[in-house]
C-alpha cells in the first residue's frame, strides 16, 4: 500500500530525513518510535503532503501512485489521513461544518452524492459514540479552546468519519489520560480492516498494548536504525535508545 524508498527531506536547508525506506502492506500496523527531534513528525507530515518540507531524493508510492506528485487534498481524497501531533485550531468554523465539508469532499472525489446535514447527523452520532465525545463539541469551533486530550480525541473522530485507507497517528497518545488512551485505541482498533493500514508514532509502549503493532521501527537522526516485532517496543521501554545509537552517528 505504501512504499517509501530512500527518502531524503529537508526544511529550511536543514536535512532532516536521511534515507528512509519503509513498506507498509494492507492490514498491517506499524509503530515508529525514536528520540525527540529524530524526524518522526517530519515523515508523517511529508506523507500527508505538508508543503513546508522539501523532498530532495527518494520516492513514496501509495496504491501504485506517486504520492509526492499529489496535493495534500488529493492524498486525503485517496484515503491518506494524518492525526496531527499538534491539531490546528480554526476559530470560526464549527467542528460539525468542518467534518461534513471534509466528508463530502471525499465523497465527491469518489463520485458519490454529497450528504445533507440531516443525514450527516446520523453518521456523526454513531462516530461520536465510538470516541465517547459529547455532541456539544460539534457546535464549537474546530479545536478552538479544546483541551489537549479533546484535540486528540477530535483527531480520532475525524479519522472515524473519514475512514482512511492509510492512517498515520502522530503521538495521538501523548497527553491522554488512561481512559482517553483506551478510548482512542479502541477507536483505532474498531476502524481496522484487512484493507487498511495504520502507522502509529509514539513514545510509549503503553499504547502498543492496545494497538498491537506488527512491526516496530526506531527512527533516529533521520534514519530507521532498527526494525523488529512488537517485542522491540518492550526492549526500548526497558533500555531506552542509547544501546541502539552508534557513537559515530551522534
Amino acid at each position: 500500500m505504501l512504499k517509501i524508498t530512500d527518502l531524503h527531506a529537508s526544511a529550511s536547508d536543514k536535512e532532516i530525513l536521511k534515507g528512509i525506506s519503509l513498506t507498509v502492506n494492507a492490514g498491517e500496523v506499524h509503530a515508529i518510535m525514536g528520540p525527540n527531534g529524530s524526524g518522526k513528525s517530519t515523515l508523517a507530515q511529508i506523507i500527508a503532503g505538508h508543503p513546508g518540507y522539501e523532498v530532495t531524493s527518494g520516492t513514496i508510492e501509495y496504491d501504485g501512485k506517486d504520492l509526492l506528485d499529489m496535493e495534500a487534498e488529493e492524498r486525503a481524497q485517496a484515503g491518506v489521513f494524518l492525526a496531527f501531533q499538534y491539531p490546528v485550531e480554526i476559530p470560526g468554523v464549527t467542528n460539525a461544518y468542518f467534518l461534513r465539508a471534509a466528508f463530502n469532499e471525499l465523497r465527491k472525489a469518489r463520485g458519490e452524492e454529497e450528504v445533507d446535514p440531516m443525514e450527516f447527523l446520523d453518521i456523526m452520532e454513531e462516530k461520536l459514540k465510538l470516541v465517547e465525545m459529547d455532541a456539544t463539541m460539534m457546535q464549537r469551533s474546530v479545536n478552538a479552546g479544546f483541551s489537549g486530550g479533546e484535540k486528540k480525541r477530535n483527531e480520532i473522530l475525524q479519522m472515524a468519519v473519514l475512514a482512511p485507507k492509510l492512517a498515520v497517528l502522530d503521538e495521538t497518545d501523548s497527553g491522554l489520560d488512561i481512559d482517553a488512551l483506551r478510548i482512542v485505541a479502541g477507536g483505532v482498533n474498531a476502524l481496522k480492516r484487512p484493507d487498511n493500514a495504520t502507522i502509529v508514532v509514539t513514545h510509549y509502549q503503553r499504547l502498543l498494548n492496545y494497538i498491537v503493532p506488527d512491526f516496530v521501527h526506531v527512527l533516529a537522526g533521520g534514519r530507521i536504525i532498527r526494525s523488529g516485532g512488537k517485542e522491540l517496543a518492550h526492549e526500548l521501554e526497558a533500555k531506552g535508545y542509547d544501546w541502539l545509537l552508534e557513537p559515530v552517528s551522534v
Binding site: G49, P51, E73, F84, V93, A102, E105
Partner: protein, 436 residues
C-alpha cells in the same frame, strides 16, 4: 470647494429647508457657516491622515428632490432582513410610506420621522437634536446639520423594552446619481429602557452619490441600545457616517458596523461613558475589494469610574483595496477602574491590498486596565494545510478560512436573522460551498 454649496443652501432654505420651528433654520445656518469655515478635511488633519476625501470635495453633490419611488416591496425584499420588523424605508433620502410600516409599537414608544417630531414636539427635539453630535470640528456633521432631510426620531420612555429590532433602511438607486443624502437619526433611550436598531444603507446599481449620515444616541442610566449598521452602498458611492453616543450609569451601548459597499467610506463611532459602570461594545467588519477604501474610526471617552469598553474590528481586504482603522481611547483622570480592550485584525488576501491601523490610547488615570492589539496577516498556512489534509482543496480551504476570519466578529451579532443573513452573504462571497 465648500462655497459651491452656498447657492444650494440658500435655495434649500428658501424652499422647505427653512420650515420647522424658528430655532431650526438658525441651527442650519450656523452649521452651514461652520462647514464653509472648516472646509472638507484633508490628509493634513490627524483624523484623516490615511483617507483623502478629494473625490467628494472636488464635486458638488446636489440635493435630490426625487419623485416617489417605483420600487416595490418585492424589489426591496432582499434588504429587509426580517419582514416582520417595524421599519422606515427611505429611497434616495425620501421616506416611502408604502414601503414602510412602523405603527405597531407600544403607545409610549415614539418612532417617527424628524419632520413629524418637529411638528409634534419641537421643544423636546430642540433639547436633543444637535446637542450630542457637535459640528464645531466636524465638517461632515456640519454639512449634515445644514442639509439634513427627513430623519428618524426614536424615543424609548423609561423602563420600556422594545425587543423586536427597528429597521431604518436607506436605499439609493439610479435616481441618486450625483446627489447627496444627509440622513439624520436621533435616539433617546431613557433610563432602564432597551431598544435594538438596525440601520441599513443599500445601493442599487452603479450610481455615484454621497450618503452623509449622522446619528445621535443617548443611552440613559441602566438602558441598553444595540445599534447595527449595515453599509452596502453602491460600488461608486461615497459614504460618510458619524454616530455620537452618550452613555449613562450602568448603560450598555453595543454597536456593530458592517461595511462592504461604497468606493470610499468613513465610519465614525464615538461614545462618551458619562456614568459609572457603563459598557461600550464596538464591533465592526469590513470586506473590501477592487479599489475600495474604508476608514473606521472609534473614539471611546472614559469619563467615569468602572466603565468597560470592548472593541473588535475585523477587515478582509482583497484587490488593491485600502482599509484604515483608528481606535482612540481616552481615560479621564477620574475614570479609575477603567477596563478597556481594543482588538483589530486585518486579513490581506492580495499583495496590493493595504491596511493602516492606528490605536491611540490616552490614559490619565492610574488604576486602569487598557490593552490594544493589532494583527495584520495572510491566511494561516498551518490551518490551510490542516484543511487540505482533510480533503478540503486549495480554493475551498482558503475560502473557508477567509469566512472563518469574518466569523470571529459575526458571532457578536445578537439578532439571529441578521447574523444568518450576513453569514450566508459572506460565505457565498468567498466560497462555492454550501453553508447549510
Amino acid at each position: 470647494m465648500t462655497e459651491s454649496y452656498r447657492d444650494q443652501f440658500a435655495a434649500n432654505a428658501a424652499n422647505g429647508g427653512g420650515e420647522g420651528p424658528t430655532w431650526l433654520p438658525a441651527l442650519r445656518a450656523q452649521a452651514f457657516e461652520r462647514f464653509t469655515a472648516l472646509g472638507f478635511p484633508t490628509t493634513r488633519d490627524e483624523d484623516w491622515h490615511f483617507t483623502s476625501v478629494t473625490p467628494i470635495a472636488e464635486r458638488t453633490f446636489k440635493a435630490v428632490k426625487s419623485a416617489p419611488t417605483t420600487l416595490t416591496l418585492t424589489d426591496i425584499a432582499p434588504w429587509l432582513v426580517n419582514e416582520s420588523w417595524q421599519r422606515l424605508v427611505f429611497v434616495n433620502g425620501r421616506l416611502e410610506p408604502l414601503l414602510s410600516h412602523f405603527s405597531e409599537l407600544p403607545a409610549a414608544v415614539q418612532l417617527s420621522t424628524l419632520s413629524d417630531a418637529l411638528r409634534e414636539e419641537p421643544e423636546w427635539v430642540k433639547q436633543h437634536l444637535g446637542t450630542l453630535a457637535g459640528f464645531d470640528r466636524a465638517a461632515f456633521t456640519a454639512l449634515n446639520t445644514a442639509f439634513m432631510q427627513d430623519g428618524v426620531v426614536v424615543r424609548i420612555p423609561e423602563g420600556e423594552c422594545v425587543e423586536v429590532p427597528l429597521h431604518i433602511l436607506h436605499i439609493s438607486d439610479a435616481h441618486a446619481a450625483g446627489a447627496a443624502v444627509h440622513p439624520r437619526l436621533l435616539v433617546v433611550a431613557e433610563a432602564q429602557s432597551q431598544v435594538v436598531l438596525v440601520e441599513s444603507y443599500v445601493g442599487l446599481g452603479q450610481a455615484s452619490y454621497l450618503v452623509n449620515t449622522v446619528a445621535e444616541v443617548s443611552v440613559g442610566d441602566g438602558a441598553r441600545v444595540d445599534h447595527y449598521k449595515i453599509q452596502r452602498d453602491g460600488i461608486e458611492a461615497f459614504h460618510v457616517s458619524t454616530v455620537q453616543v452618550t452613555q449613562g450609569r450602568d448603560s450598555i451601548y453595543h454597536s456593530f458596523s458592517y461595511a462592504a459597499g461604497a468606493a470610499l467610506s468613513r465610519t465614525n463611532v464615538y461614545t462618551k461613558l458619562l456614568g459609572t459602570g457603563g459598557e461600550a461594545r464596538l464591533n465592526g467588519l469590513y470586506i473590501l475589494d477592487g479599489t475600495q477604501h474604508a476608514d473606521h474610526q472609534t473614539f471611546v471617552e472614559h469619563l467615569a469610574e468602572s466603565c468597560a469598553s470592548r472593541e473588535l474590528y475585523i477587515g478582509i481586504l482583497d484587490g488593491s483595496s485600502h482599509g484604515v482603522f483608528n481606535g482612540k481611547v481616552y481615560v479621564d483622570p477620574i475614570a479609575q477602574k477603567t477596563d478597556g480592550k481594543q482588538t483589530n485584525k486585518a486579513l490581506l488576501l492580495s499583495d496590493k491590498a493595504r491596511i493602516d491601523t492606528k490605536p491611540q490610547l490616552e490614559i490619565f488615570a492610574d488604576d486602569v486596565k487598557c490593552t490594544h492589539g493589532a494583527t495584520i496577516g495572510k491566511l494561516d498556512e498551518q490551518a490551510l494545510f490542516y484543511l487540505k489534509s482533510r480533503g478540503i482543496g486549495g480554493e475551498n480551504a482558503r475560502a473557508l478560512l477567509t469566512y472563518a476570519f469574518a466569523a470571529q466578529v459575526l458571532e457578536t451579532i445578537e439578532i439571529d436573522s441578521l447574523r444568518l443573513l450576513l453569514e450566508r452573504a459572506i460565505f457565498a462571497r468567498f466560497t462555492n460551498l454550501a453553508l447549510e
